[in-house]
Structures are given as structure tokens and as C-alpha cells.
């Protein structure tokens, strides 16, 4: 019988399962936080807060998930925390995305000069999208989430999410097109339109600087 042993076993099991969840999705949460906020310092805080909150509500989330993956739930926590962060600071993201990832992404030598310009324009364009569209693209392309997962993370229907992503890509095409024509393809680092240089260069070892 031993009721205490019964209540301890699920806790140990829950902790082990939470540990698996953490290991499986740390990179997803961090990537989301980083692209959502645009700097490593805040992305680290957001990731930490996300997992602390997830731990507190893990048992209930498992119970209510009916065996469905918990990644959308985790990302939703990060999404809500990021929204709170912006609300508290009463401002838009200071630097939507820095250029760290351009350096981290694999490139061939020939691609590097031309490719970086294009990628910079794309990143800058993503940074200029409305929050919900930007988030949907981050979830789709940075995290590889499908429509259903994104819908759960954003609290929308599958259909509405499909439309959201379609519109986000359309708008991004327009933005990138304007920038390409308007600036003669002189790409500025993502976020420089409304961001602070100091924040971008924080933890990325200058990778965010031009």
C-alpha cells in the first residue's frame, strides 16, 4: 500500500519526464525566445522563466494534454512571458533579431557575401512583421512546428493559423521587395530600424554588429 511511496513515485516519474521535456525542447524554447526578443540576454531570462513556470504546471499540463506533445504548451508559456515582458517595458522589441544566426548558419564561401545580404533582408523583414505573423514564422521556420502545433501555441484554430502563415509570407515578400528596390540591396542588420546597437552586441561577441 504505502500511500507516501505512491505519491513519491509519480513525483520522481514526473521529474524524470520533465527532465526529458527540458532536454528535448531547450533549444526550441531558446530559439523562440531569441528570435522573439532579439537579444541573448533577455532570451536567456525568458528561457529560464519558461522552464520554471512549466515545471510548476507540468503535472496539470500532462493530465490535460491527453498524450499530445507538450512543445506547443511550452512555446505558449514563452509567448505569454514575452508578451508580459513587452507590456512591462511598454515598448516594442528593441532589436528583433541580430545577425548572430547569419554567422551560425552554414554557408559556402561563394554564398557568403551574396547570401548574407539576402538573409539580412529576410531577417529584417521578419522583424518588421506584426507580432503574431512574426511569431508564426519563427515557430514554423526556426522550430519546424506544423500548423497544428502553431495553432495550439497561439491559441488559434488550424485554419486561422494557415491563413496567418500565408499572410505573413506574403507581407514578408512585400517588405523584402521594397527593401531590395528602395535601398539598392544595401541590407541593414535586422532590428537596426528600431533597435539599440548596445543590446544587439551584448552576448553575441559582436556578432550582431556590422
Amino acid at each position: 500500500m504505502a500511500e507516501q511511496a505512491v505519491s513519491q513515485k509519480p513525483k520522481a516519474q514526473l521529474d524524470a519526464e520533465f527532465s526529458d521535456l527540458y532536454k528535448a525542447h531547450l533549444r526550441d524554447v531558446y530559439s523562440y525566445a531569441y528570435y522573439r526578443i532579439g537579444n541573448h540576454h533577455d532570451a536567456e531570462d525568458l528561457t529560464e522563466q519558461t522552464f520554471l513556470q512549466a515545471y510548476r504546471h507540468f503535472e496539470r499540463a500532462q493530465r490535460e494534454s491527453d498524450g499530445r506533445p507538450l512543445r506547443p504548451w511550452l512555446i505558449r508559456i514563452a509567448h505569454n512571458l514575452a508578451a508580459n515582458l513587452y507590456r512591462d517595458r511598454s515598448r516594442k522589441p528593441a532589436s528583433p533579431i541580430d545577425e548572430t544566426t547569419l554567422l551560425m548558419a552554414p554557408h559556402t564561401t561563394e554564398q557568403l557575401v551574396e547570401g548574407r545580404d539576402e538573409l539580412s533582408r529576410v531577417l529584417e523583414g521578419v522583424g518588421r512583421l506584426p507580432d503574431d505573423r512574426r511569431e508564426a514564422l519563427i515557430m514554423r521556420f526556426a522550430l519546424g512546428m506544423d500548423n497544428r502545433e502553431i495553432a495550439r501555441a497561439l491559441g488559434r484554430s488550424d485554419g486561422a493559423t494557415k491563413v496567418l502563415i500565408h499572410r505573413a509570407i506574403k507581407q514578408l515578400e512585400e517588405i523584402v521587395g521594397e527593401r531590395g528596390e528602395g535601398t539598392g540591396r544595401t541590407a541593414t542588420p535586422a532590428g537596426s530600424a528600431n533597435g539599440s546597437q548596445a543590446e544587439r552586441s551584448g552576448r553575441s561577441g559582436g556578432a550582431g554588429d556590422e
Partner: protein, 116 residues
């Protein structure tokens, strides 16, 4: 697809490549999670002890004691019957039966209370 950038989705995939979390974050986060899981276990134990001061939480142990008492009484009856079927009980034998019954009762009650 876009006329401006024919492979916009491919570029998006490349531009939004997953970002590895910094090593110091991983270390810090793992240590925080380890300490809160340990703290949670300690808190649980502390709660169980402190909860016993609240009479509203006495129902379960009381029920366990009642059940344990019934089990103990049943044990005494069973042993008494067994002894009547065997030889005449001596005073030492009665003491031994009572002692064993008390120990068994204690063990059963602990089980019902959820202790090991």
C-alpha cells in the same frame, strides 16, 4: 513564390536557423531545476509534518488508525483462537501473543498511514 526572392521559404529556414542555448545558461538552468525538484520534495515532507497540526488533516490518519485497530483486534482474535486449539496458554505465552499483536498492529497502522 516570390518574384523578388524566388526561394523565400528556403531563405527563411536558413535565416531563422535554430539557435543553440549558451553553455552557461544550460548549466545554470539545470542547477536551478535540480534544486527546485529537491526543494519540492523537502517542502512536501515539511508540509506533511506541519499538516498534522491541523485537525482537518487528521481524518486520513484517524481512519487508518481505526482500520489498523480493527486489523489488530482481528489478529488478537485469530491468535487467541489458534492458541485455544493448541496447548493451555501460560502467562508468558499470553504476554508474547499480546506483544506480537501490538508490534503487528503498529506495522499495519504504519502501512495504512503510508509510512515505510
Amino acid at each position: 513564390m516570390s518574384e523578388v526572392m524566388p526561394n523565400l521559404e528556403g531563405l527563411l529556414r536558413e535565416a531563422l536557423a535554430p539557435v543553440e542555448p549558451p553553455a552557461d545558461l544550460v548549466k545554470r538552468l539545470e542547477s536551478t531545476l535540480t534544486s527546485i525538484t529537491e526543494m519540492a520534495a523537502d517542502e512536501l515532507e515539511a508540509w506533511e509534518l506541519s499538516a498534522m497540526r491541523d485537525p482537518r488533516n487528521w481524518v486520513r490518519p484517524a481512519a487508518a488508525l481505526v482500520a489498523g485497530g480493527a486489523a489488530g483486534a482481528a489478529l488478537v482474535v485469530l491468535r487467541a483462537r489458534r492458541r485455544t486449539h493448541s496447548s493451555q496458554p501460560s502467562l508468558a505465552g499470553v504476554r508474547e501473543v499480546a506483544g506480537r499483536t501490538v508490534r503487528d498492529l503498529e506495522r499495519e497502522t504504519r502501512k495504512l498511514l503510508g509510512e515505510r
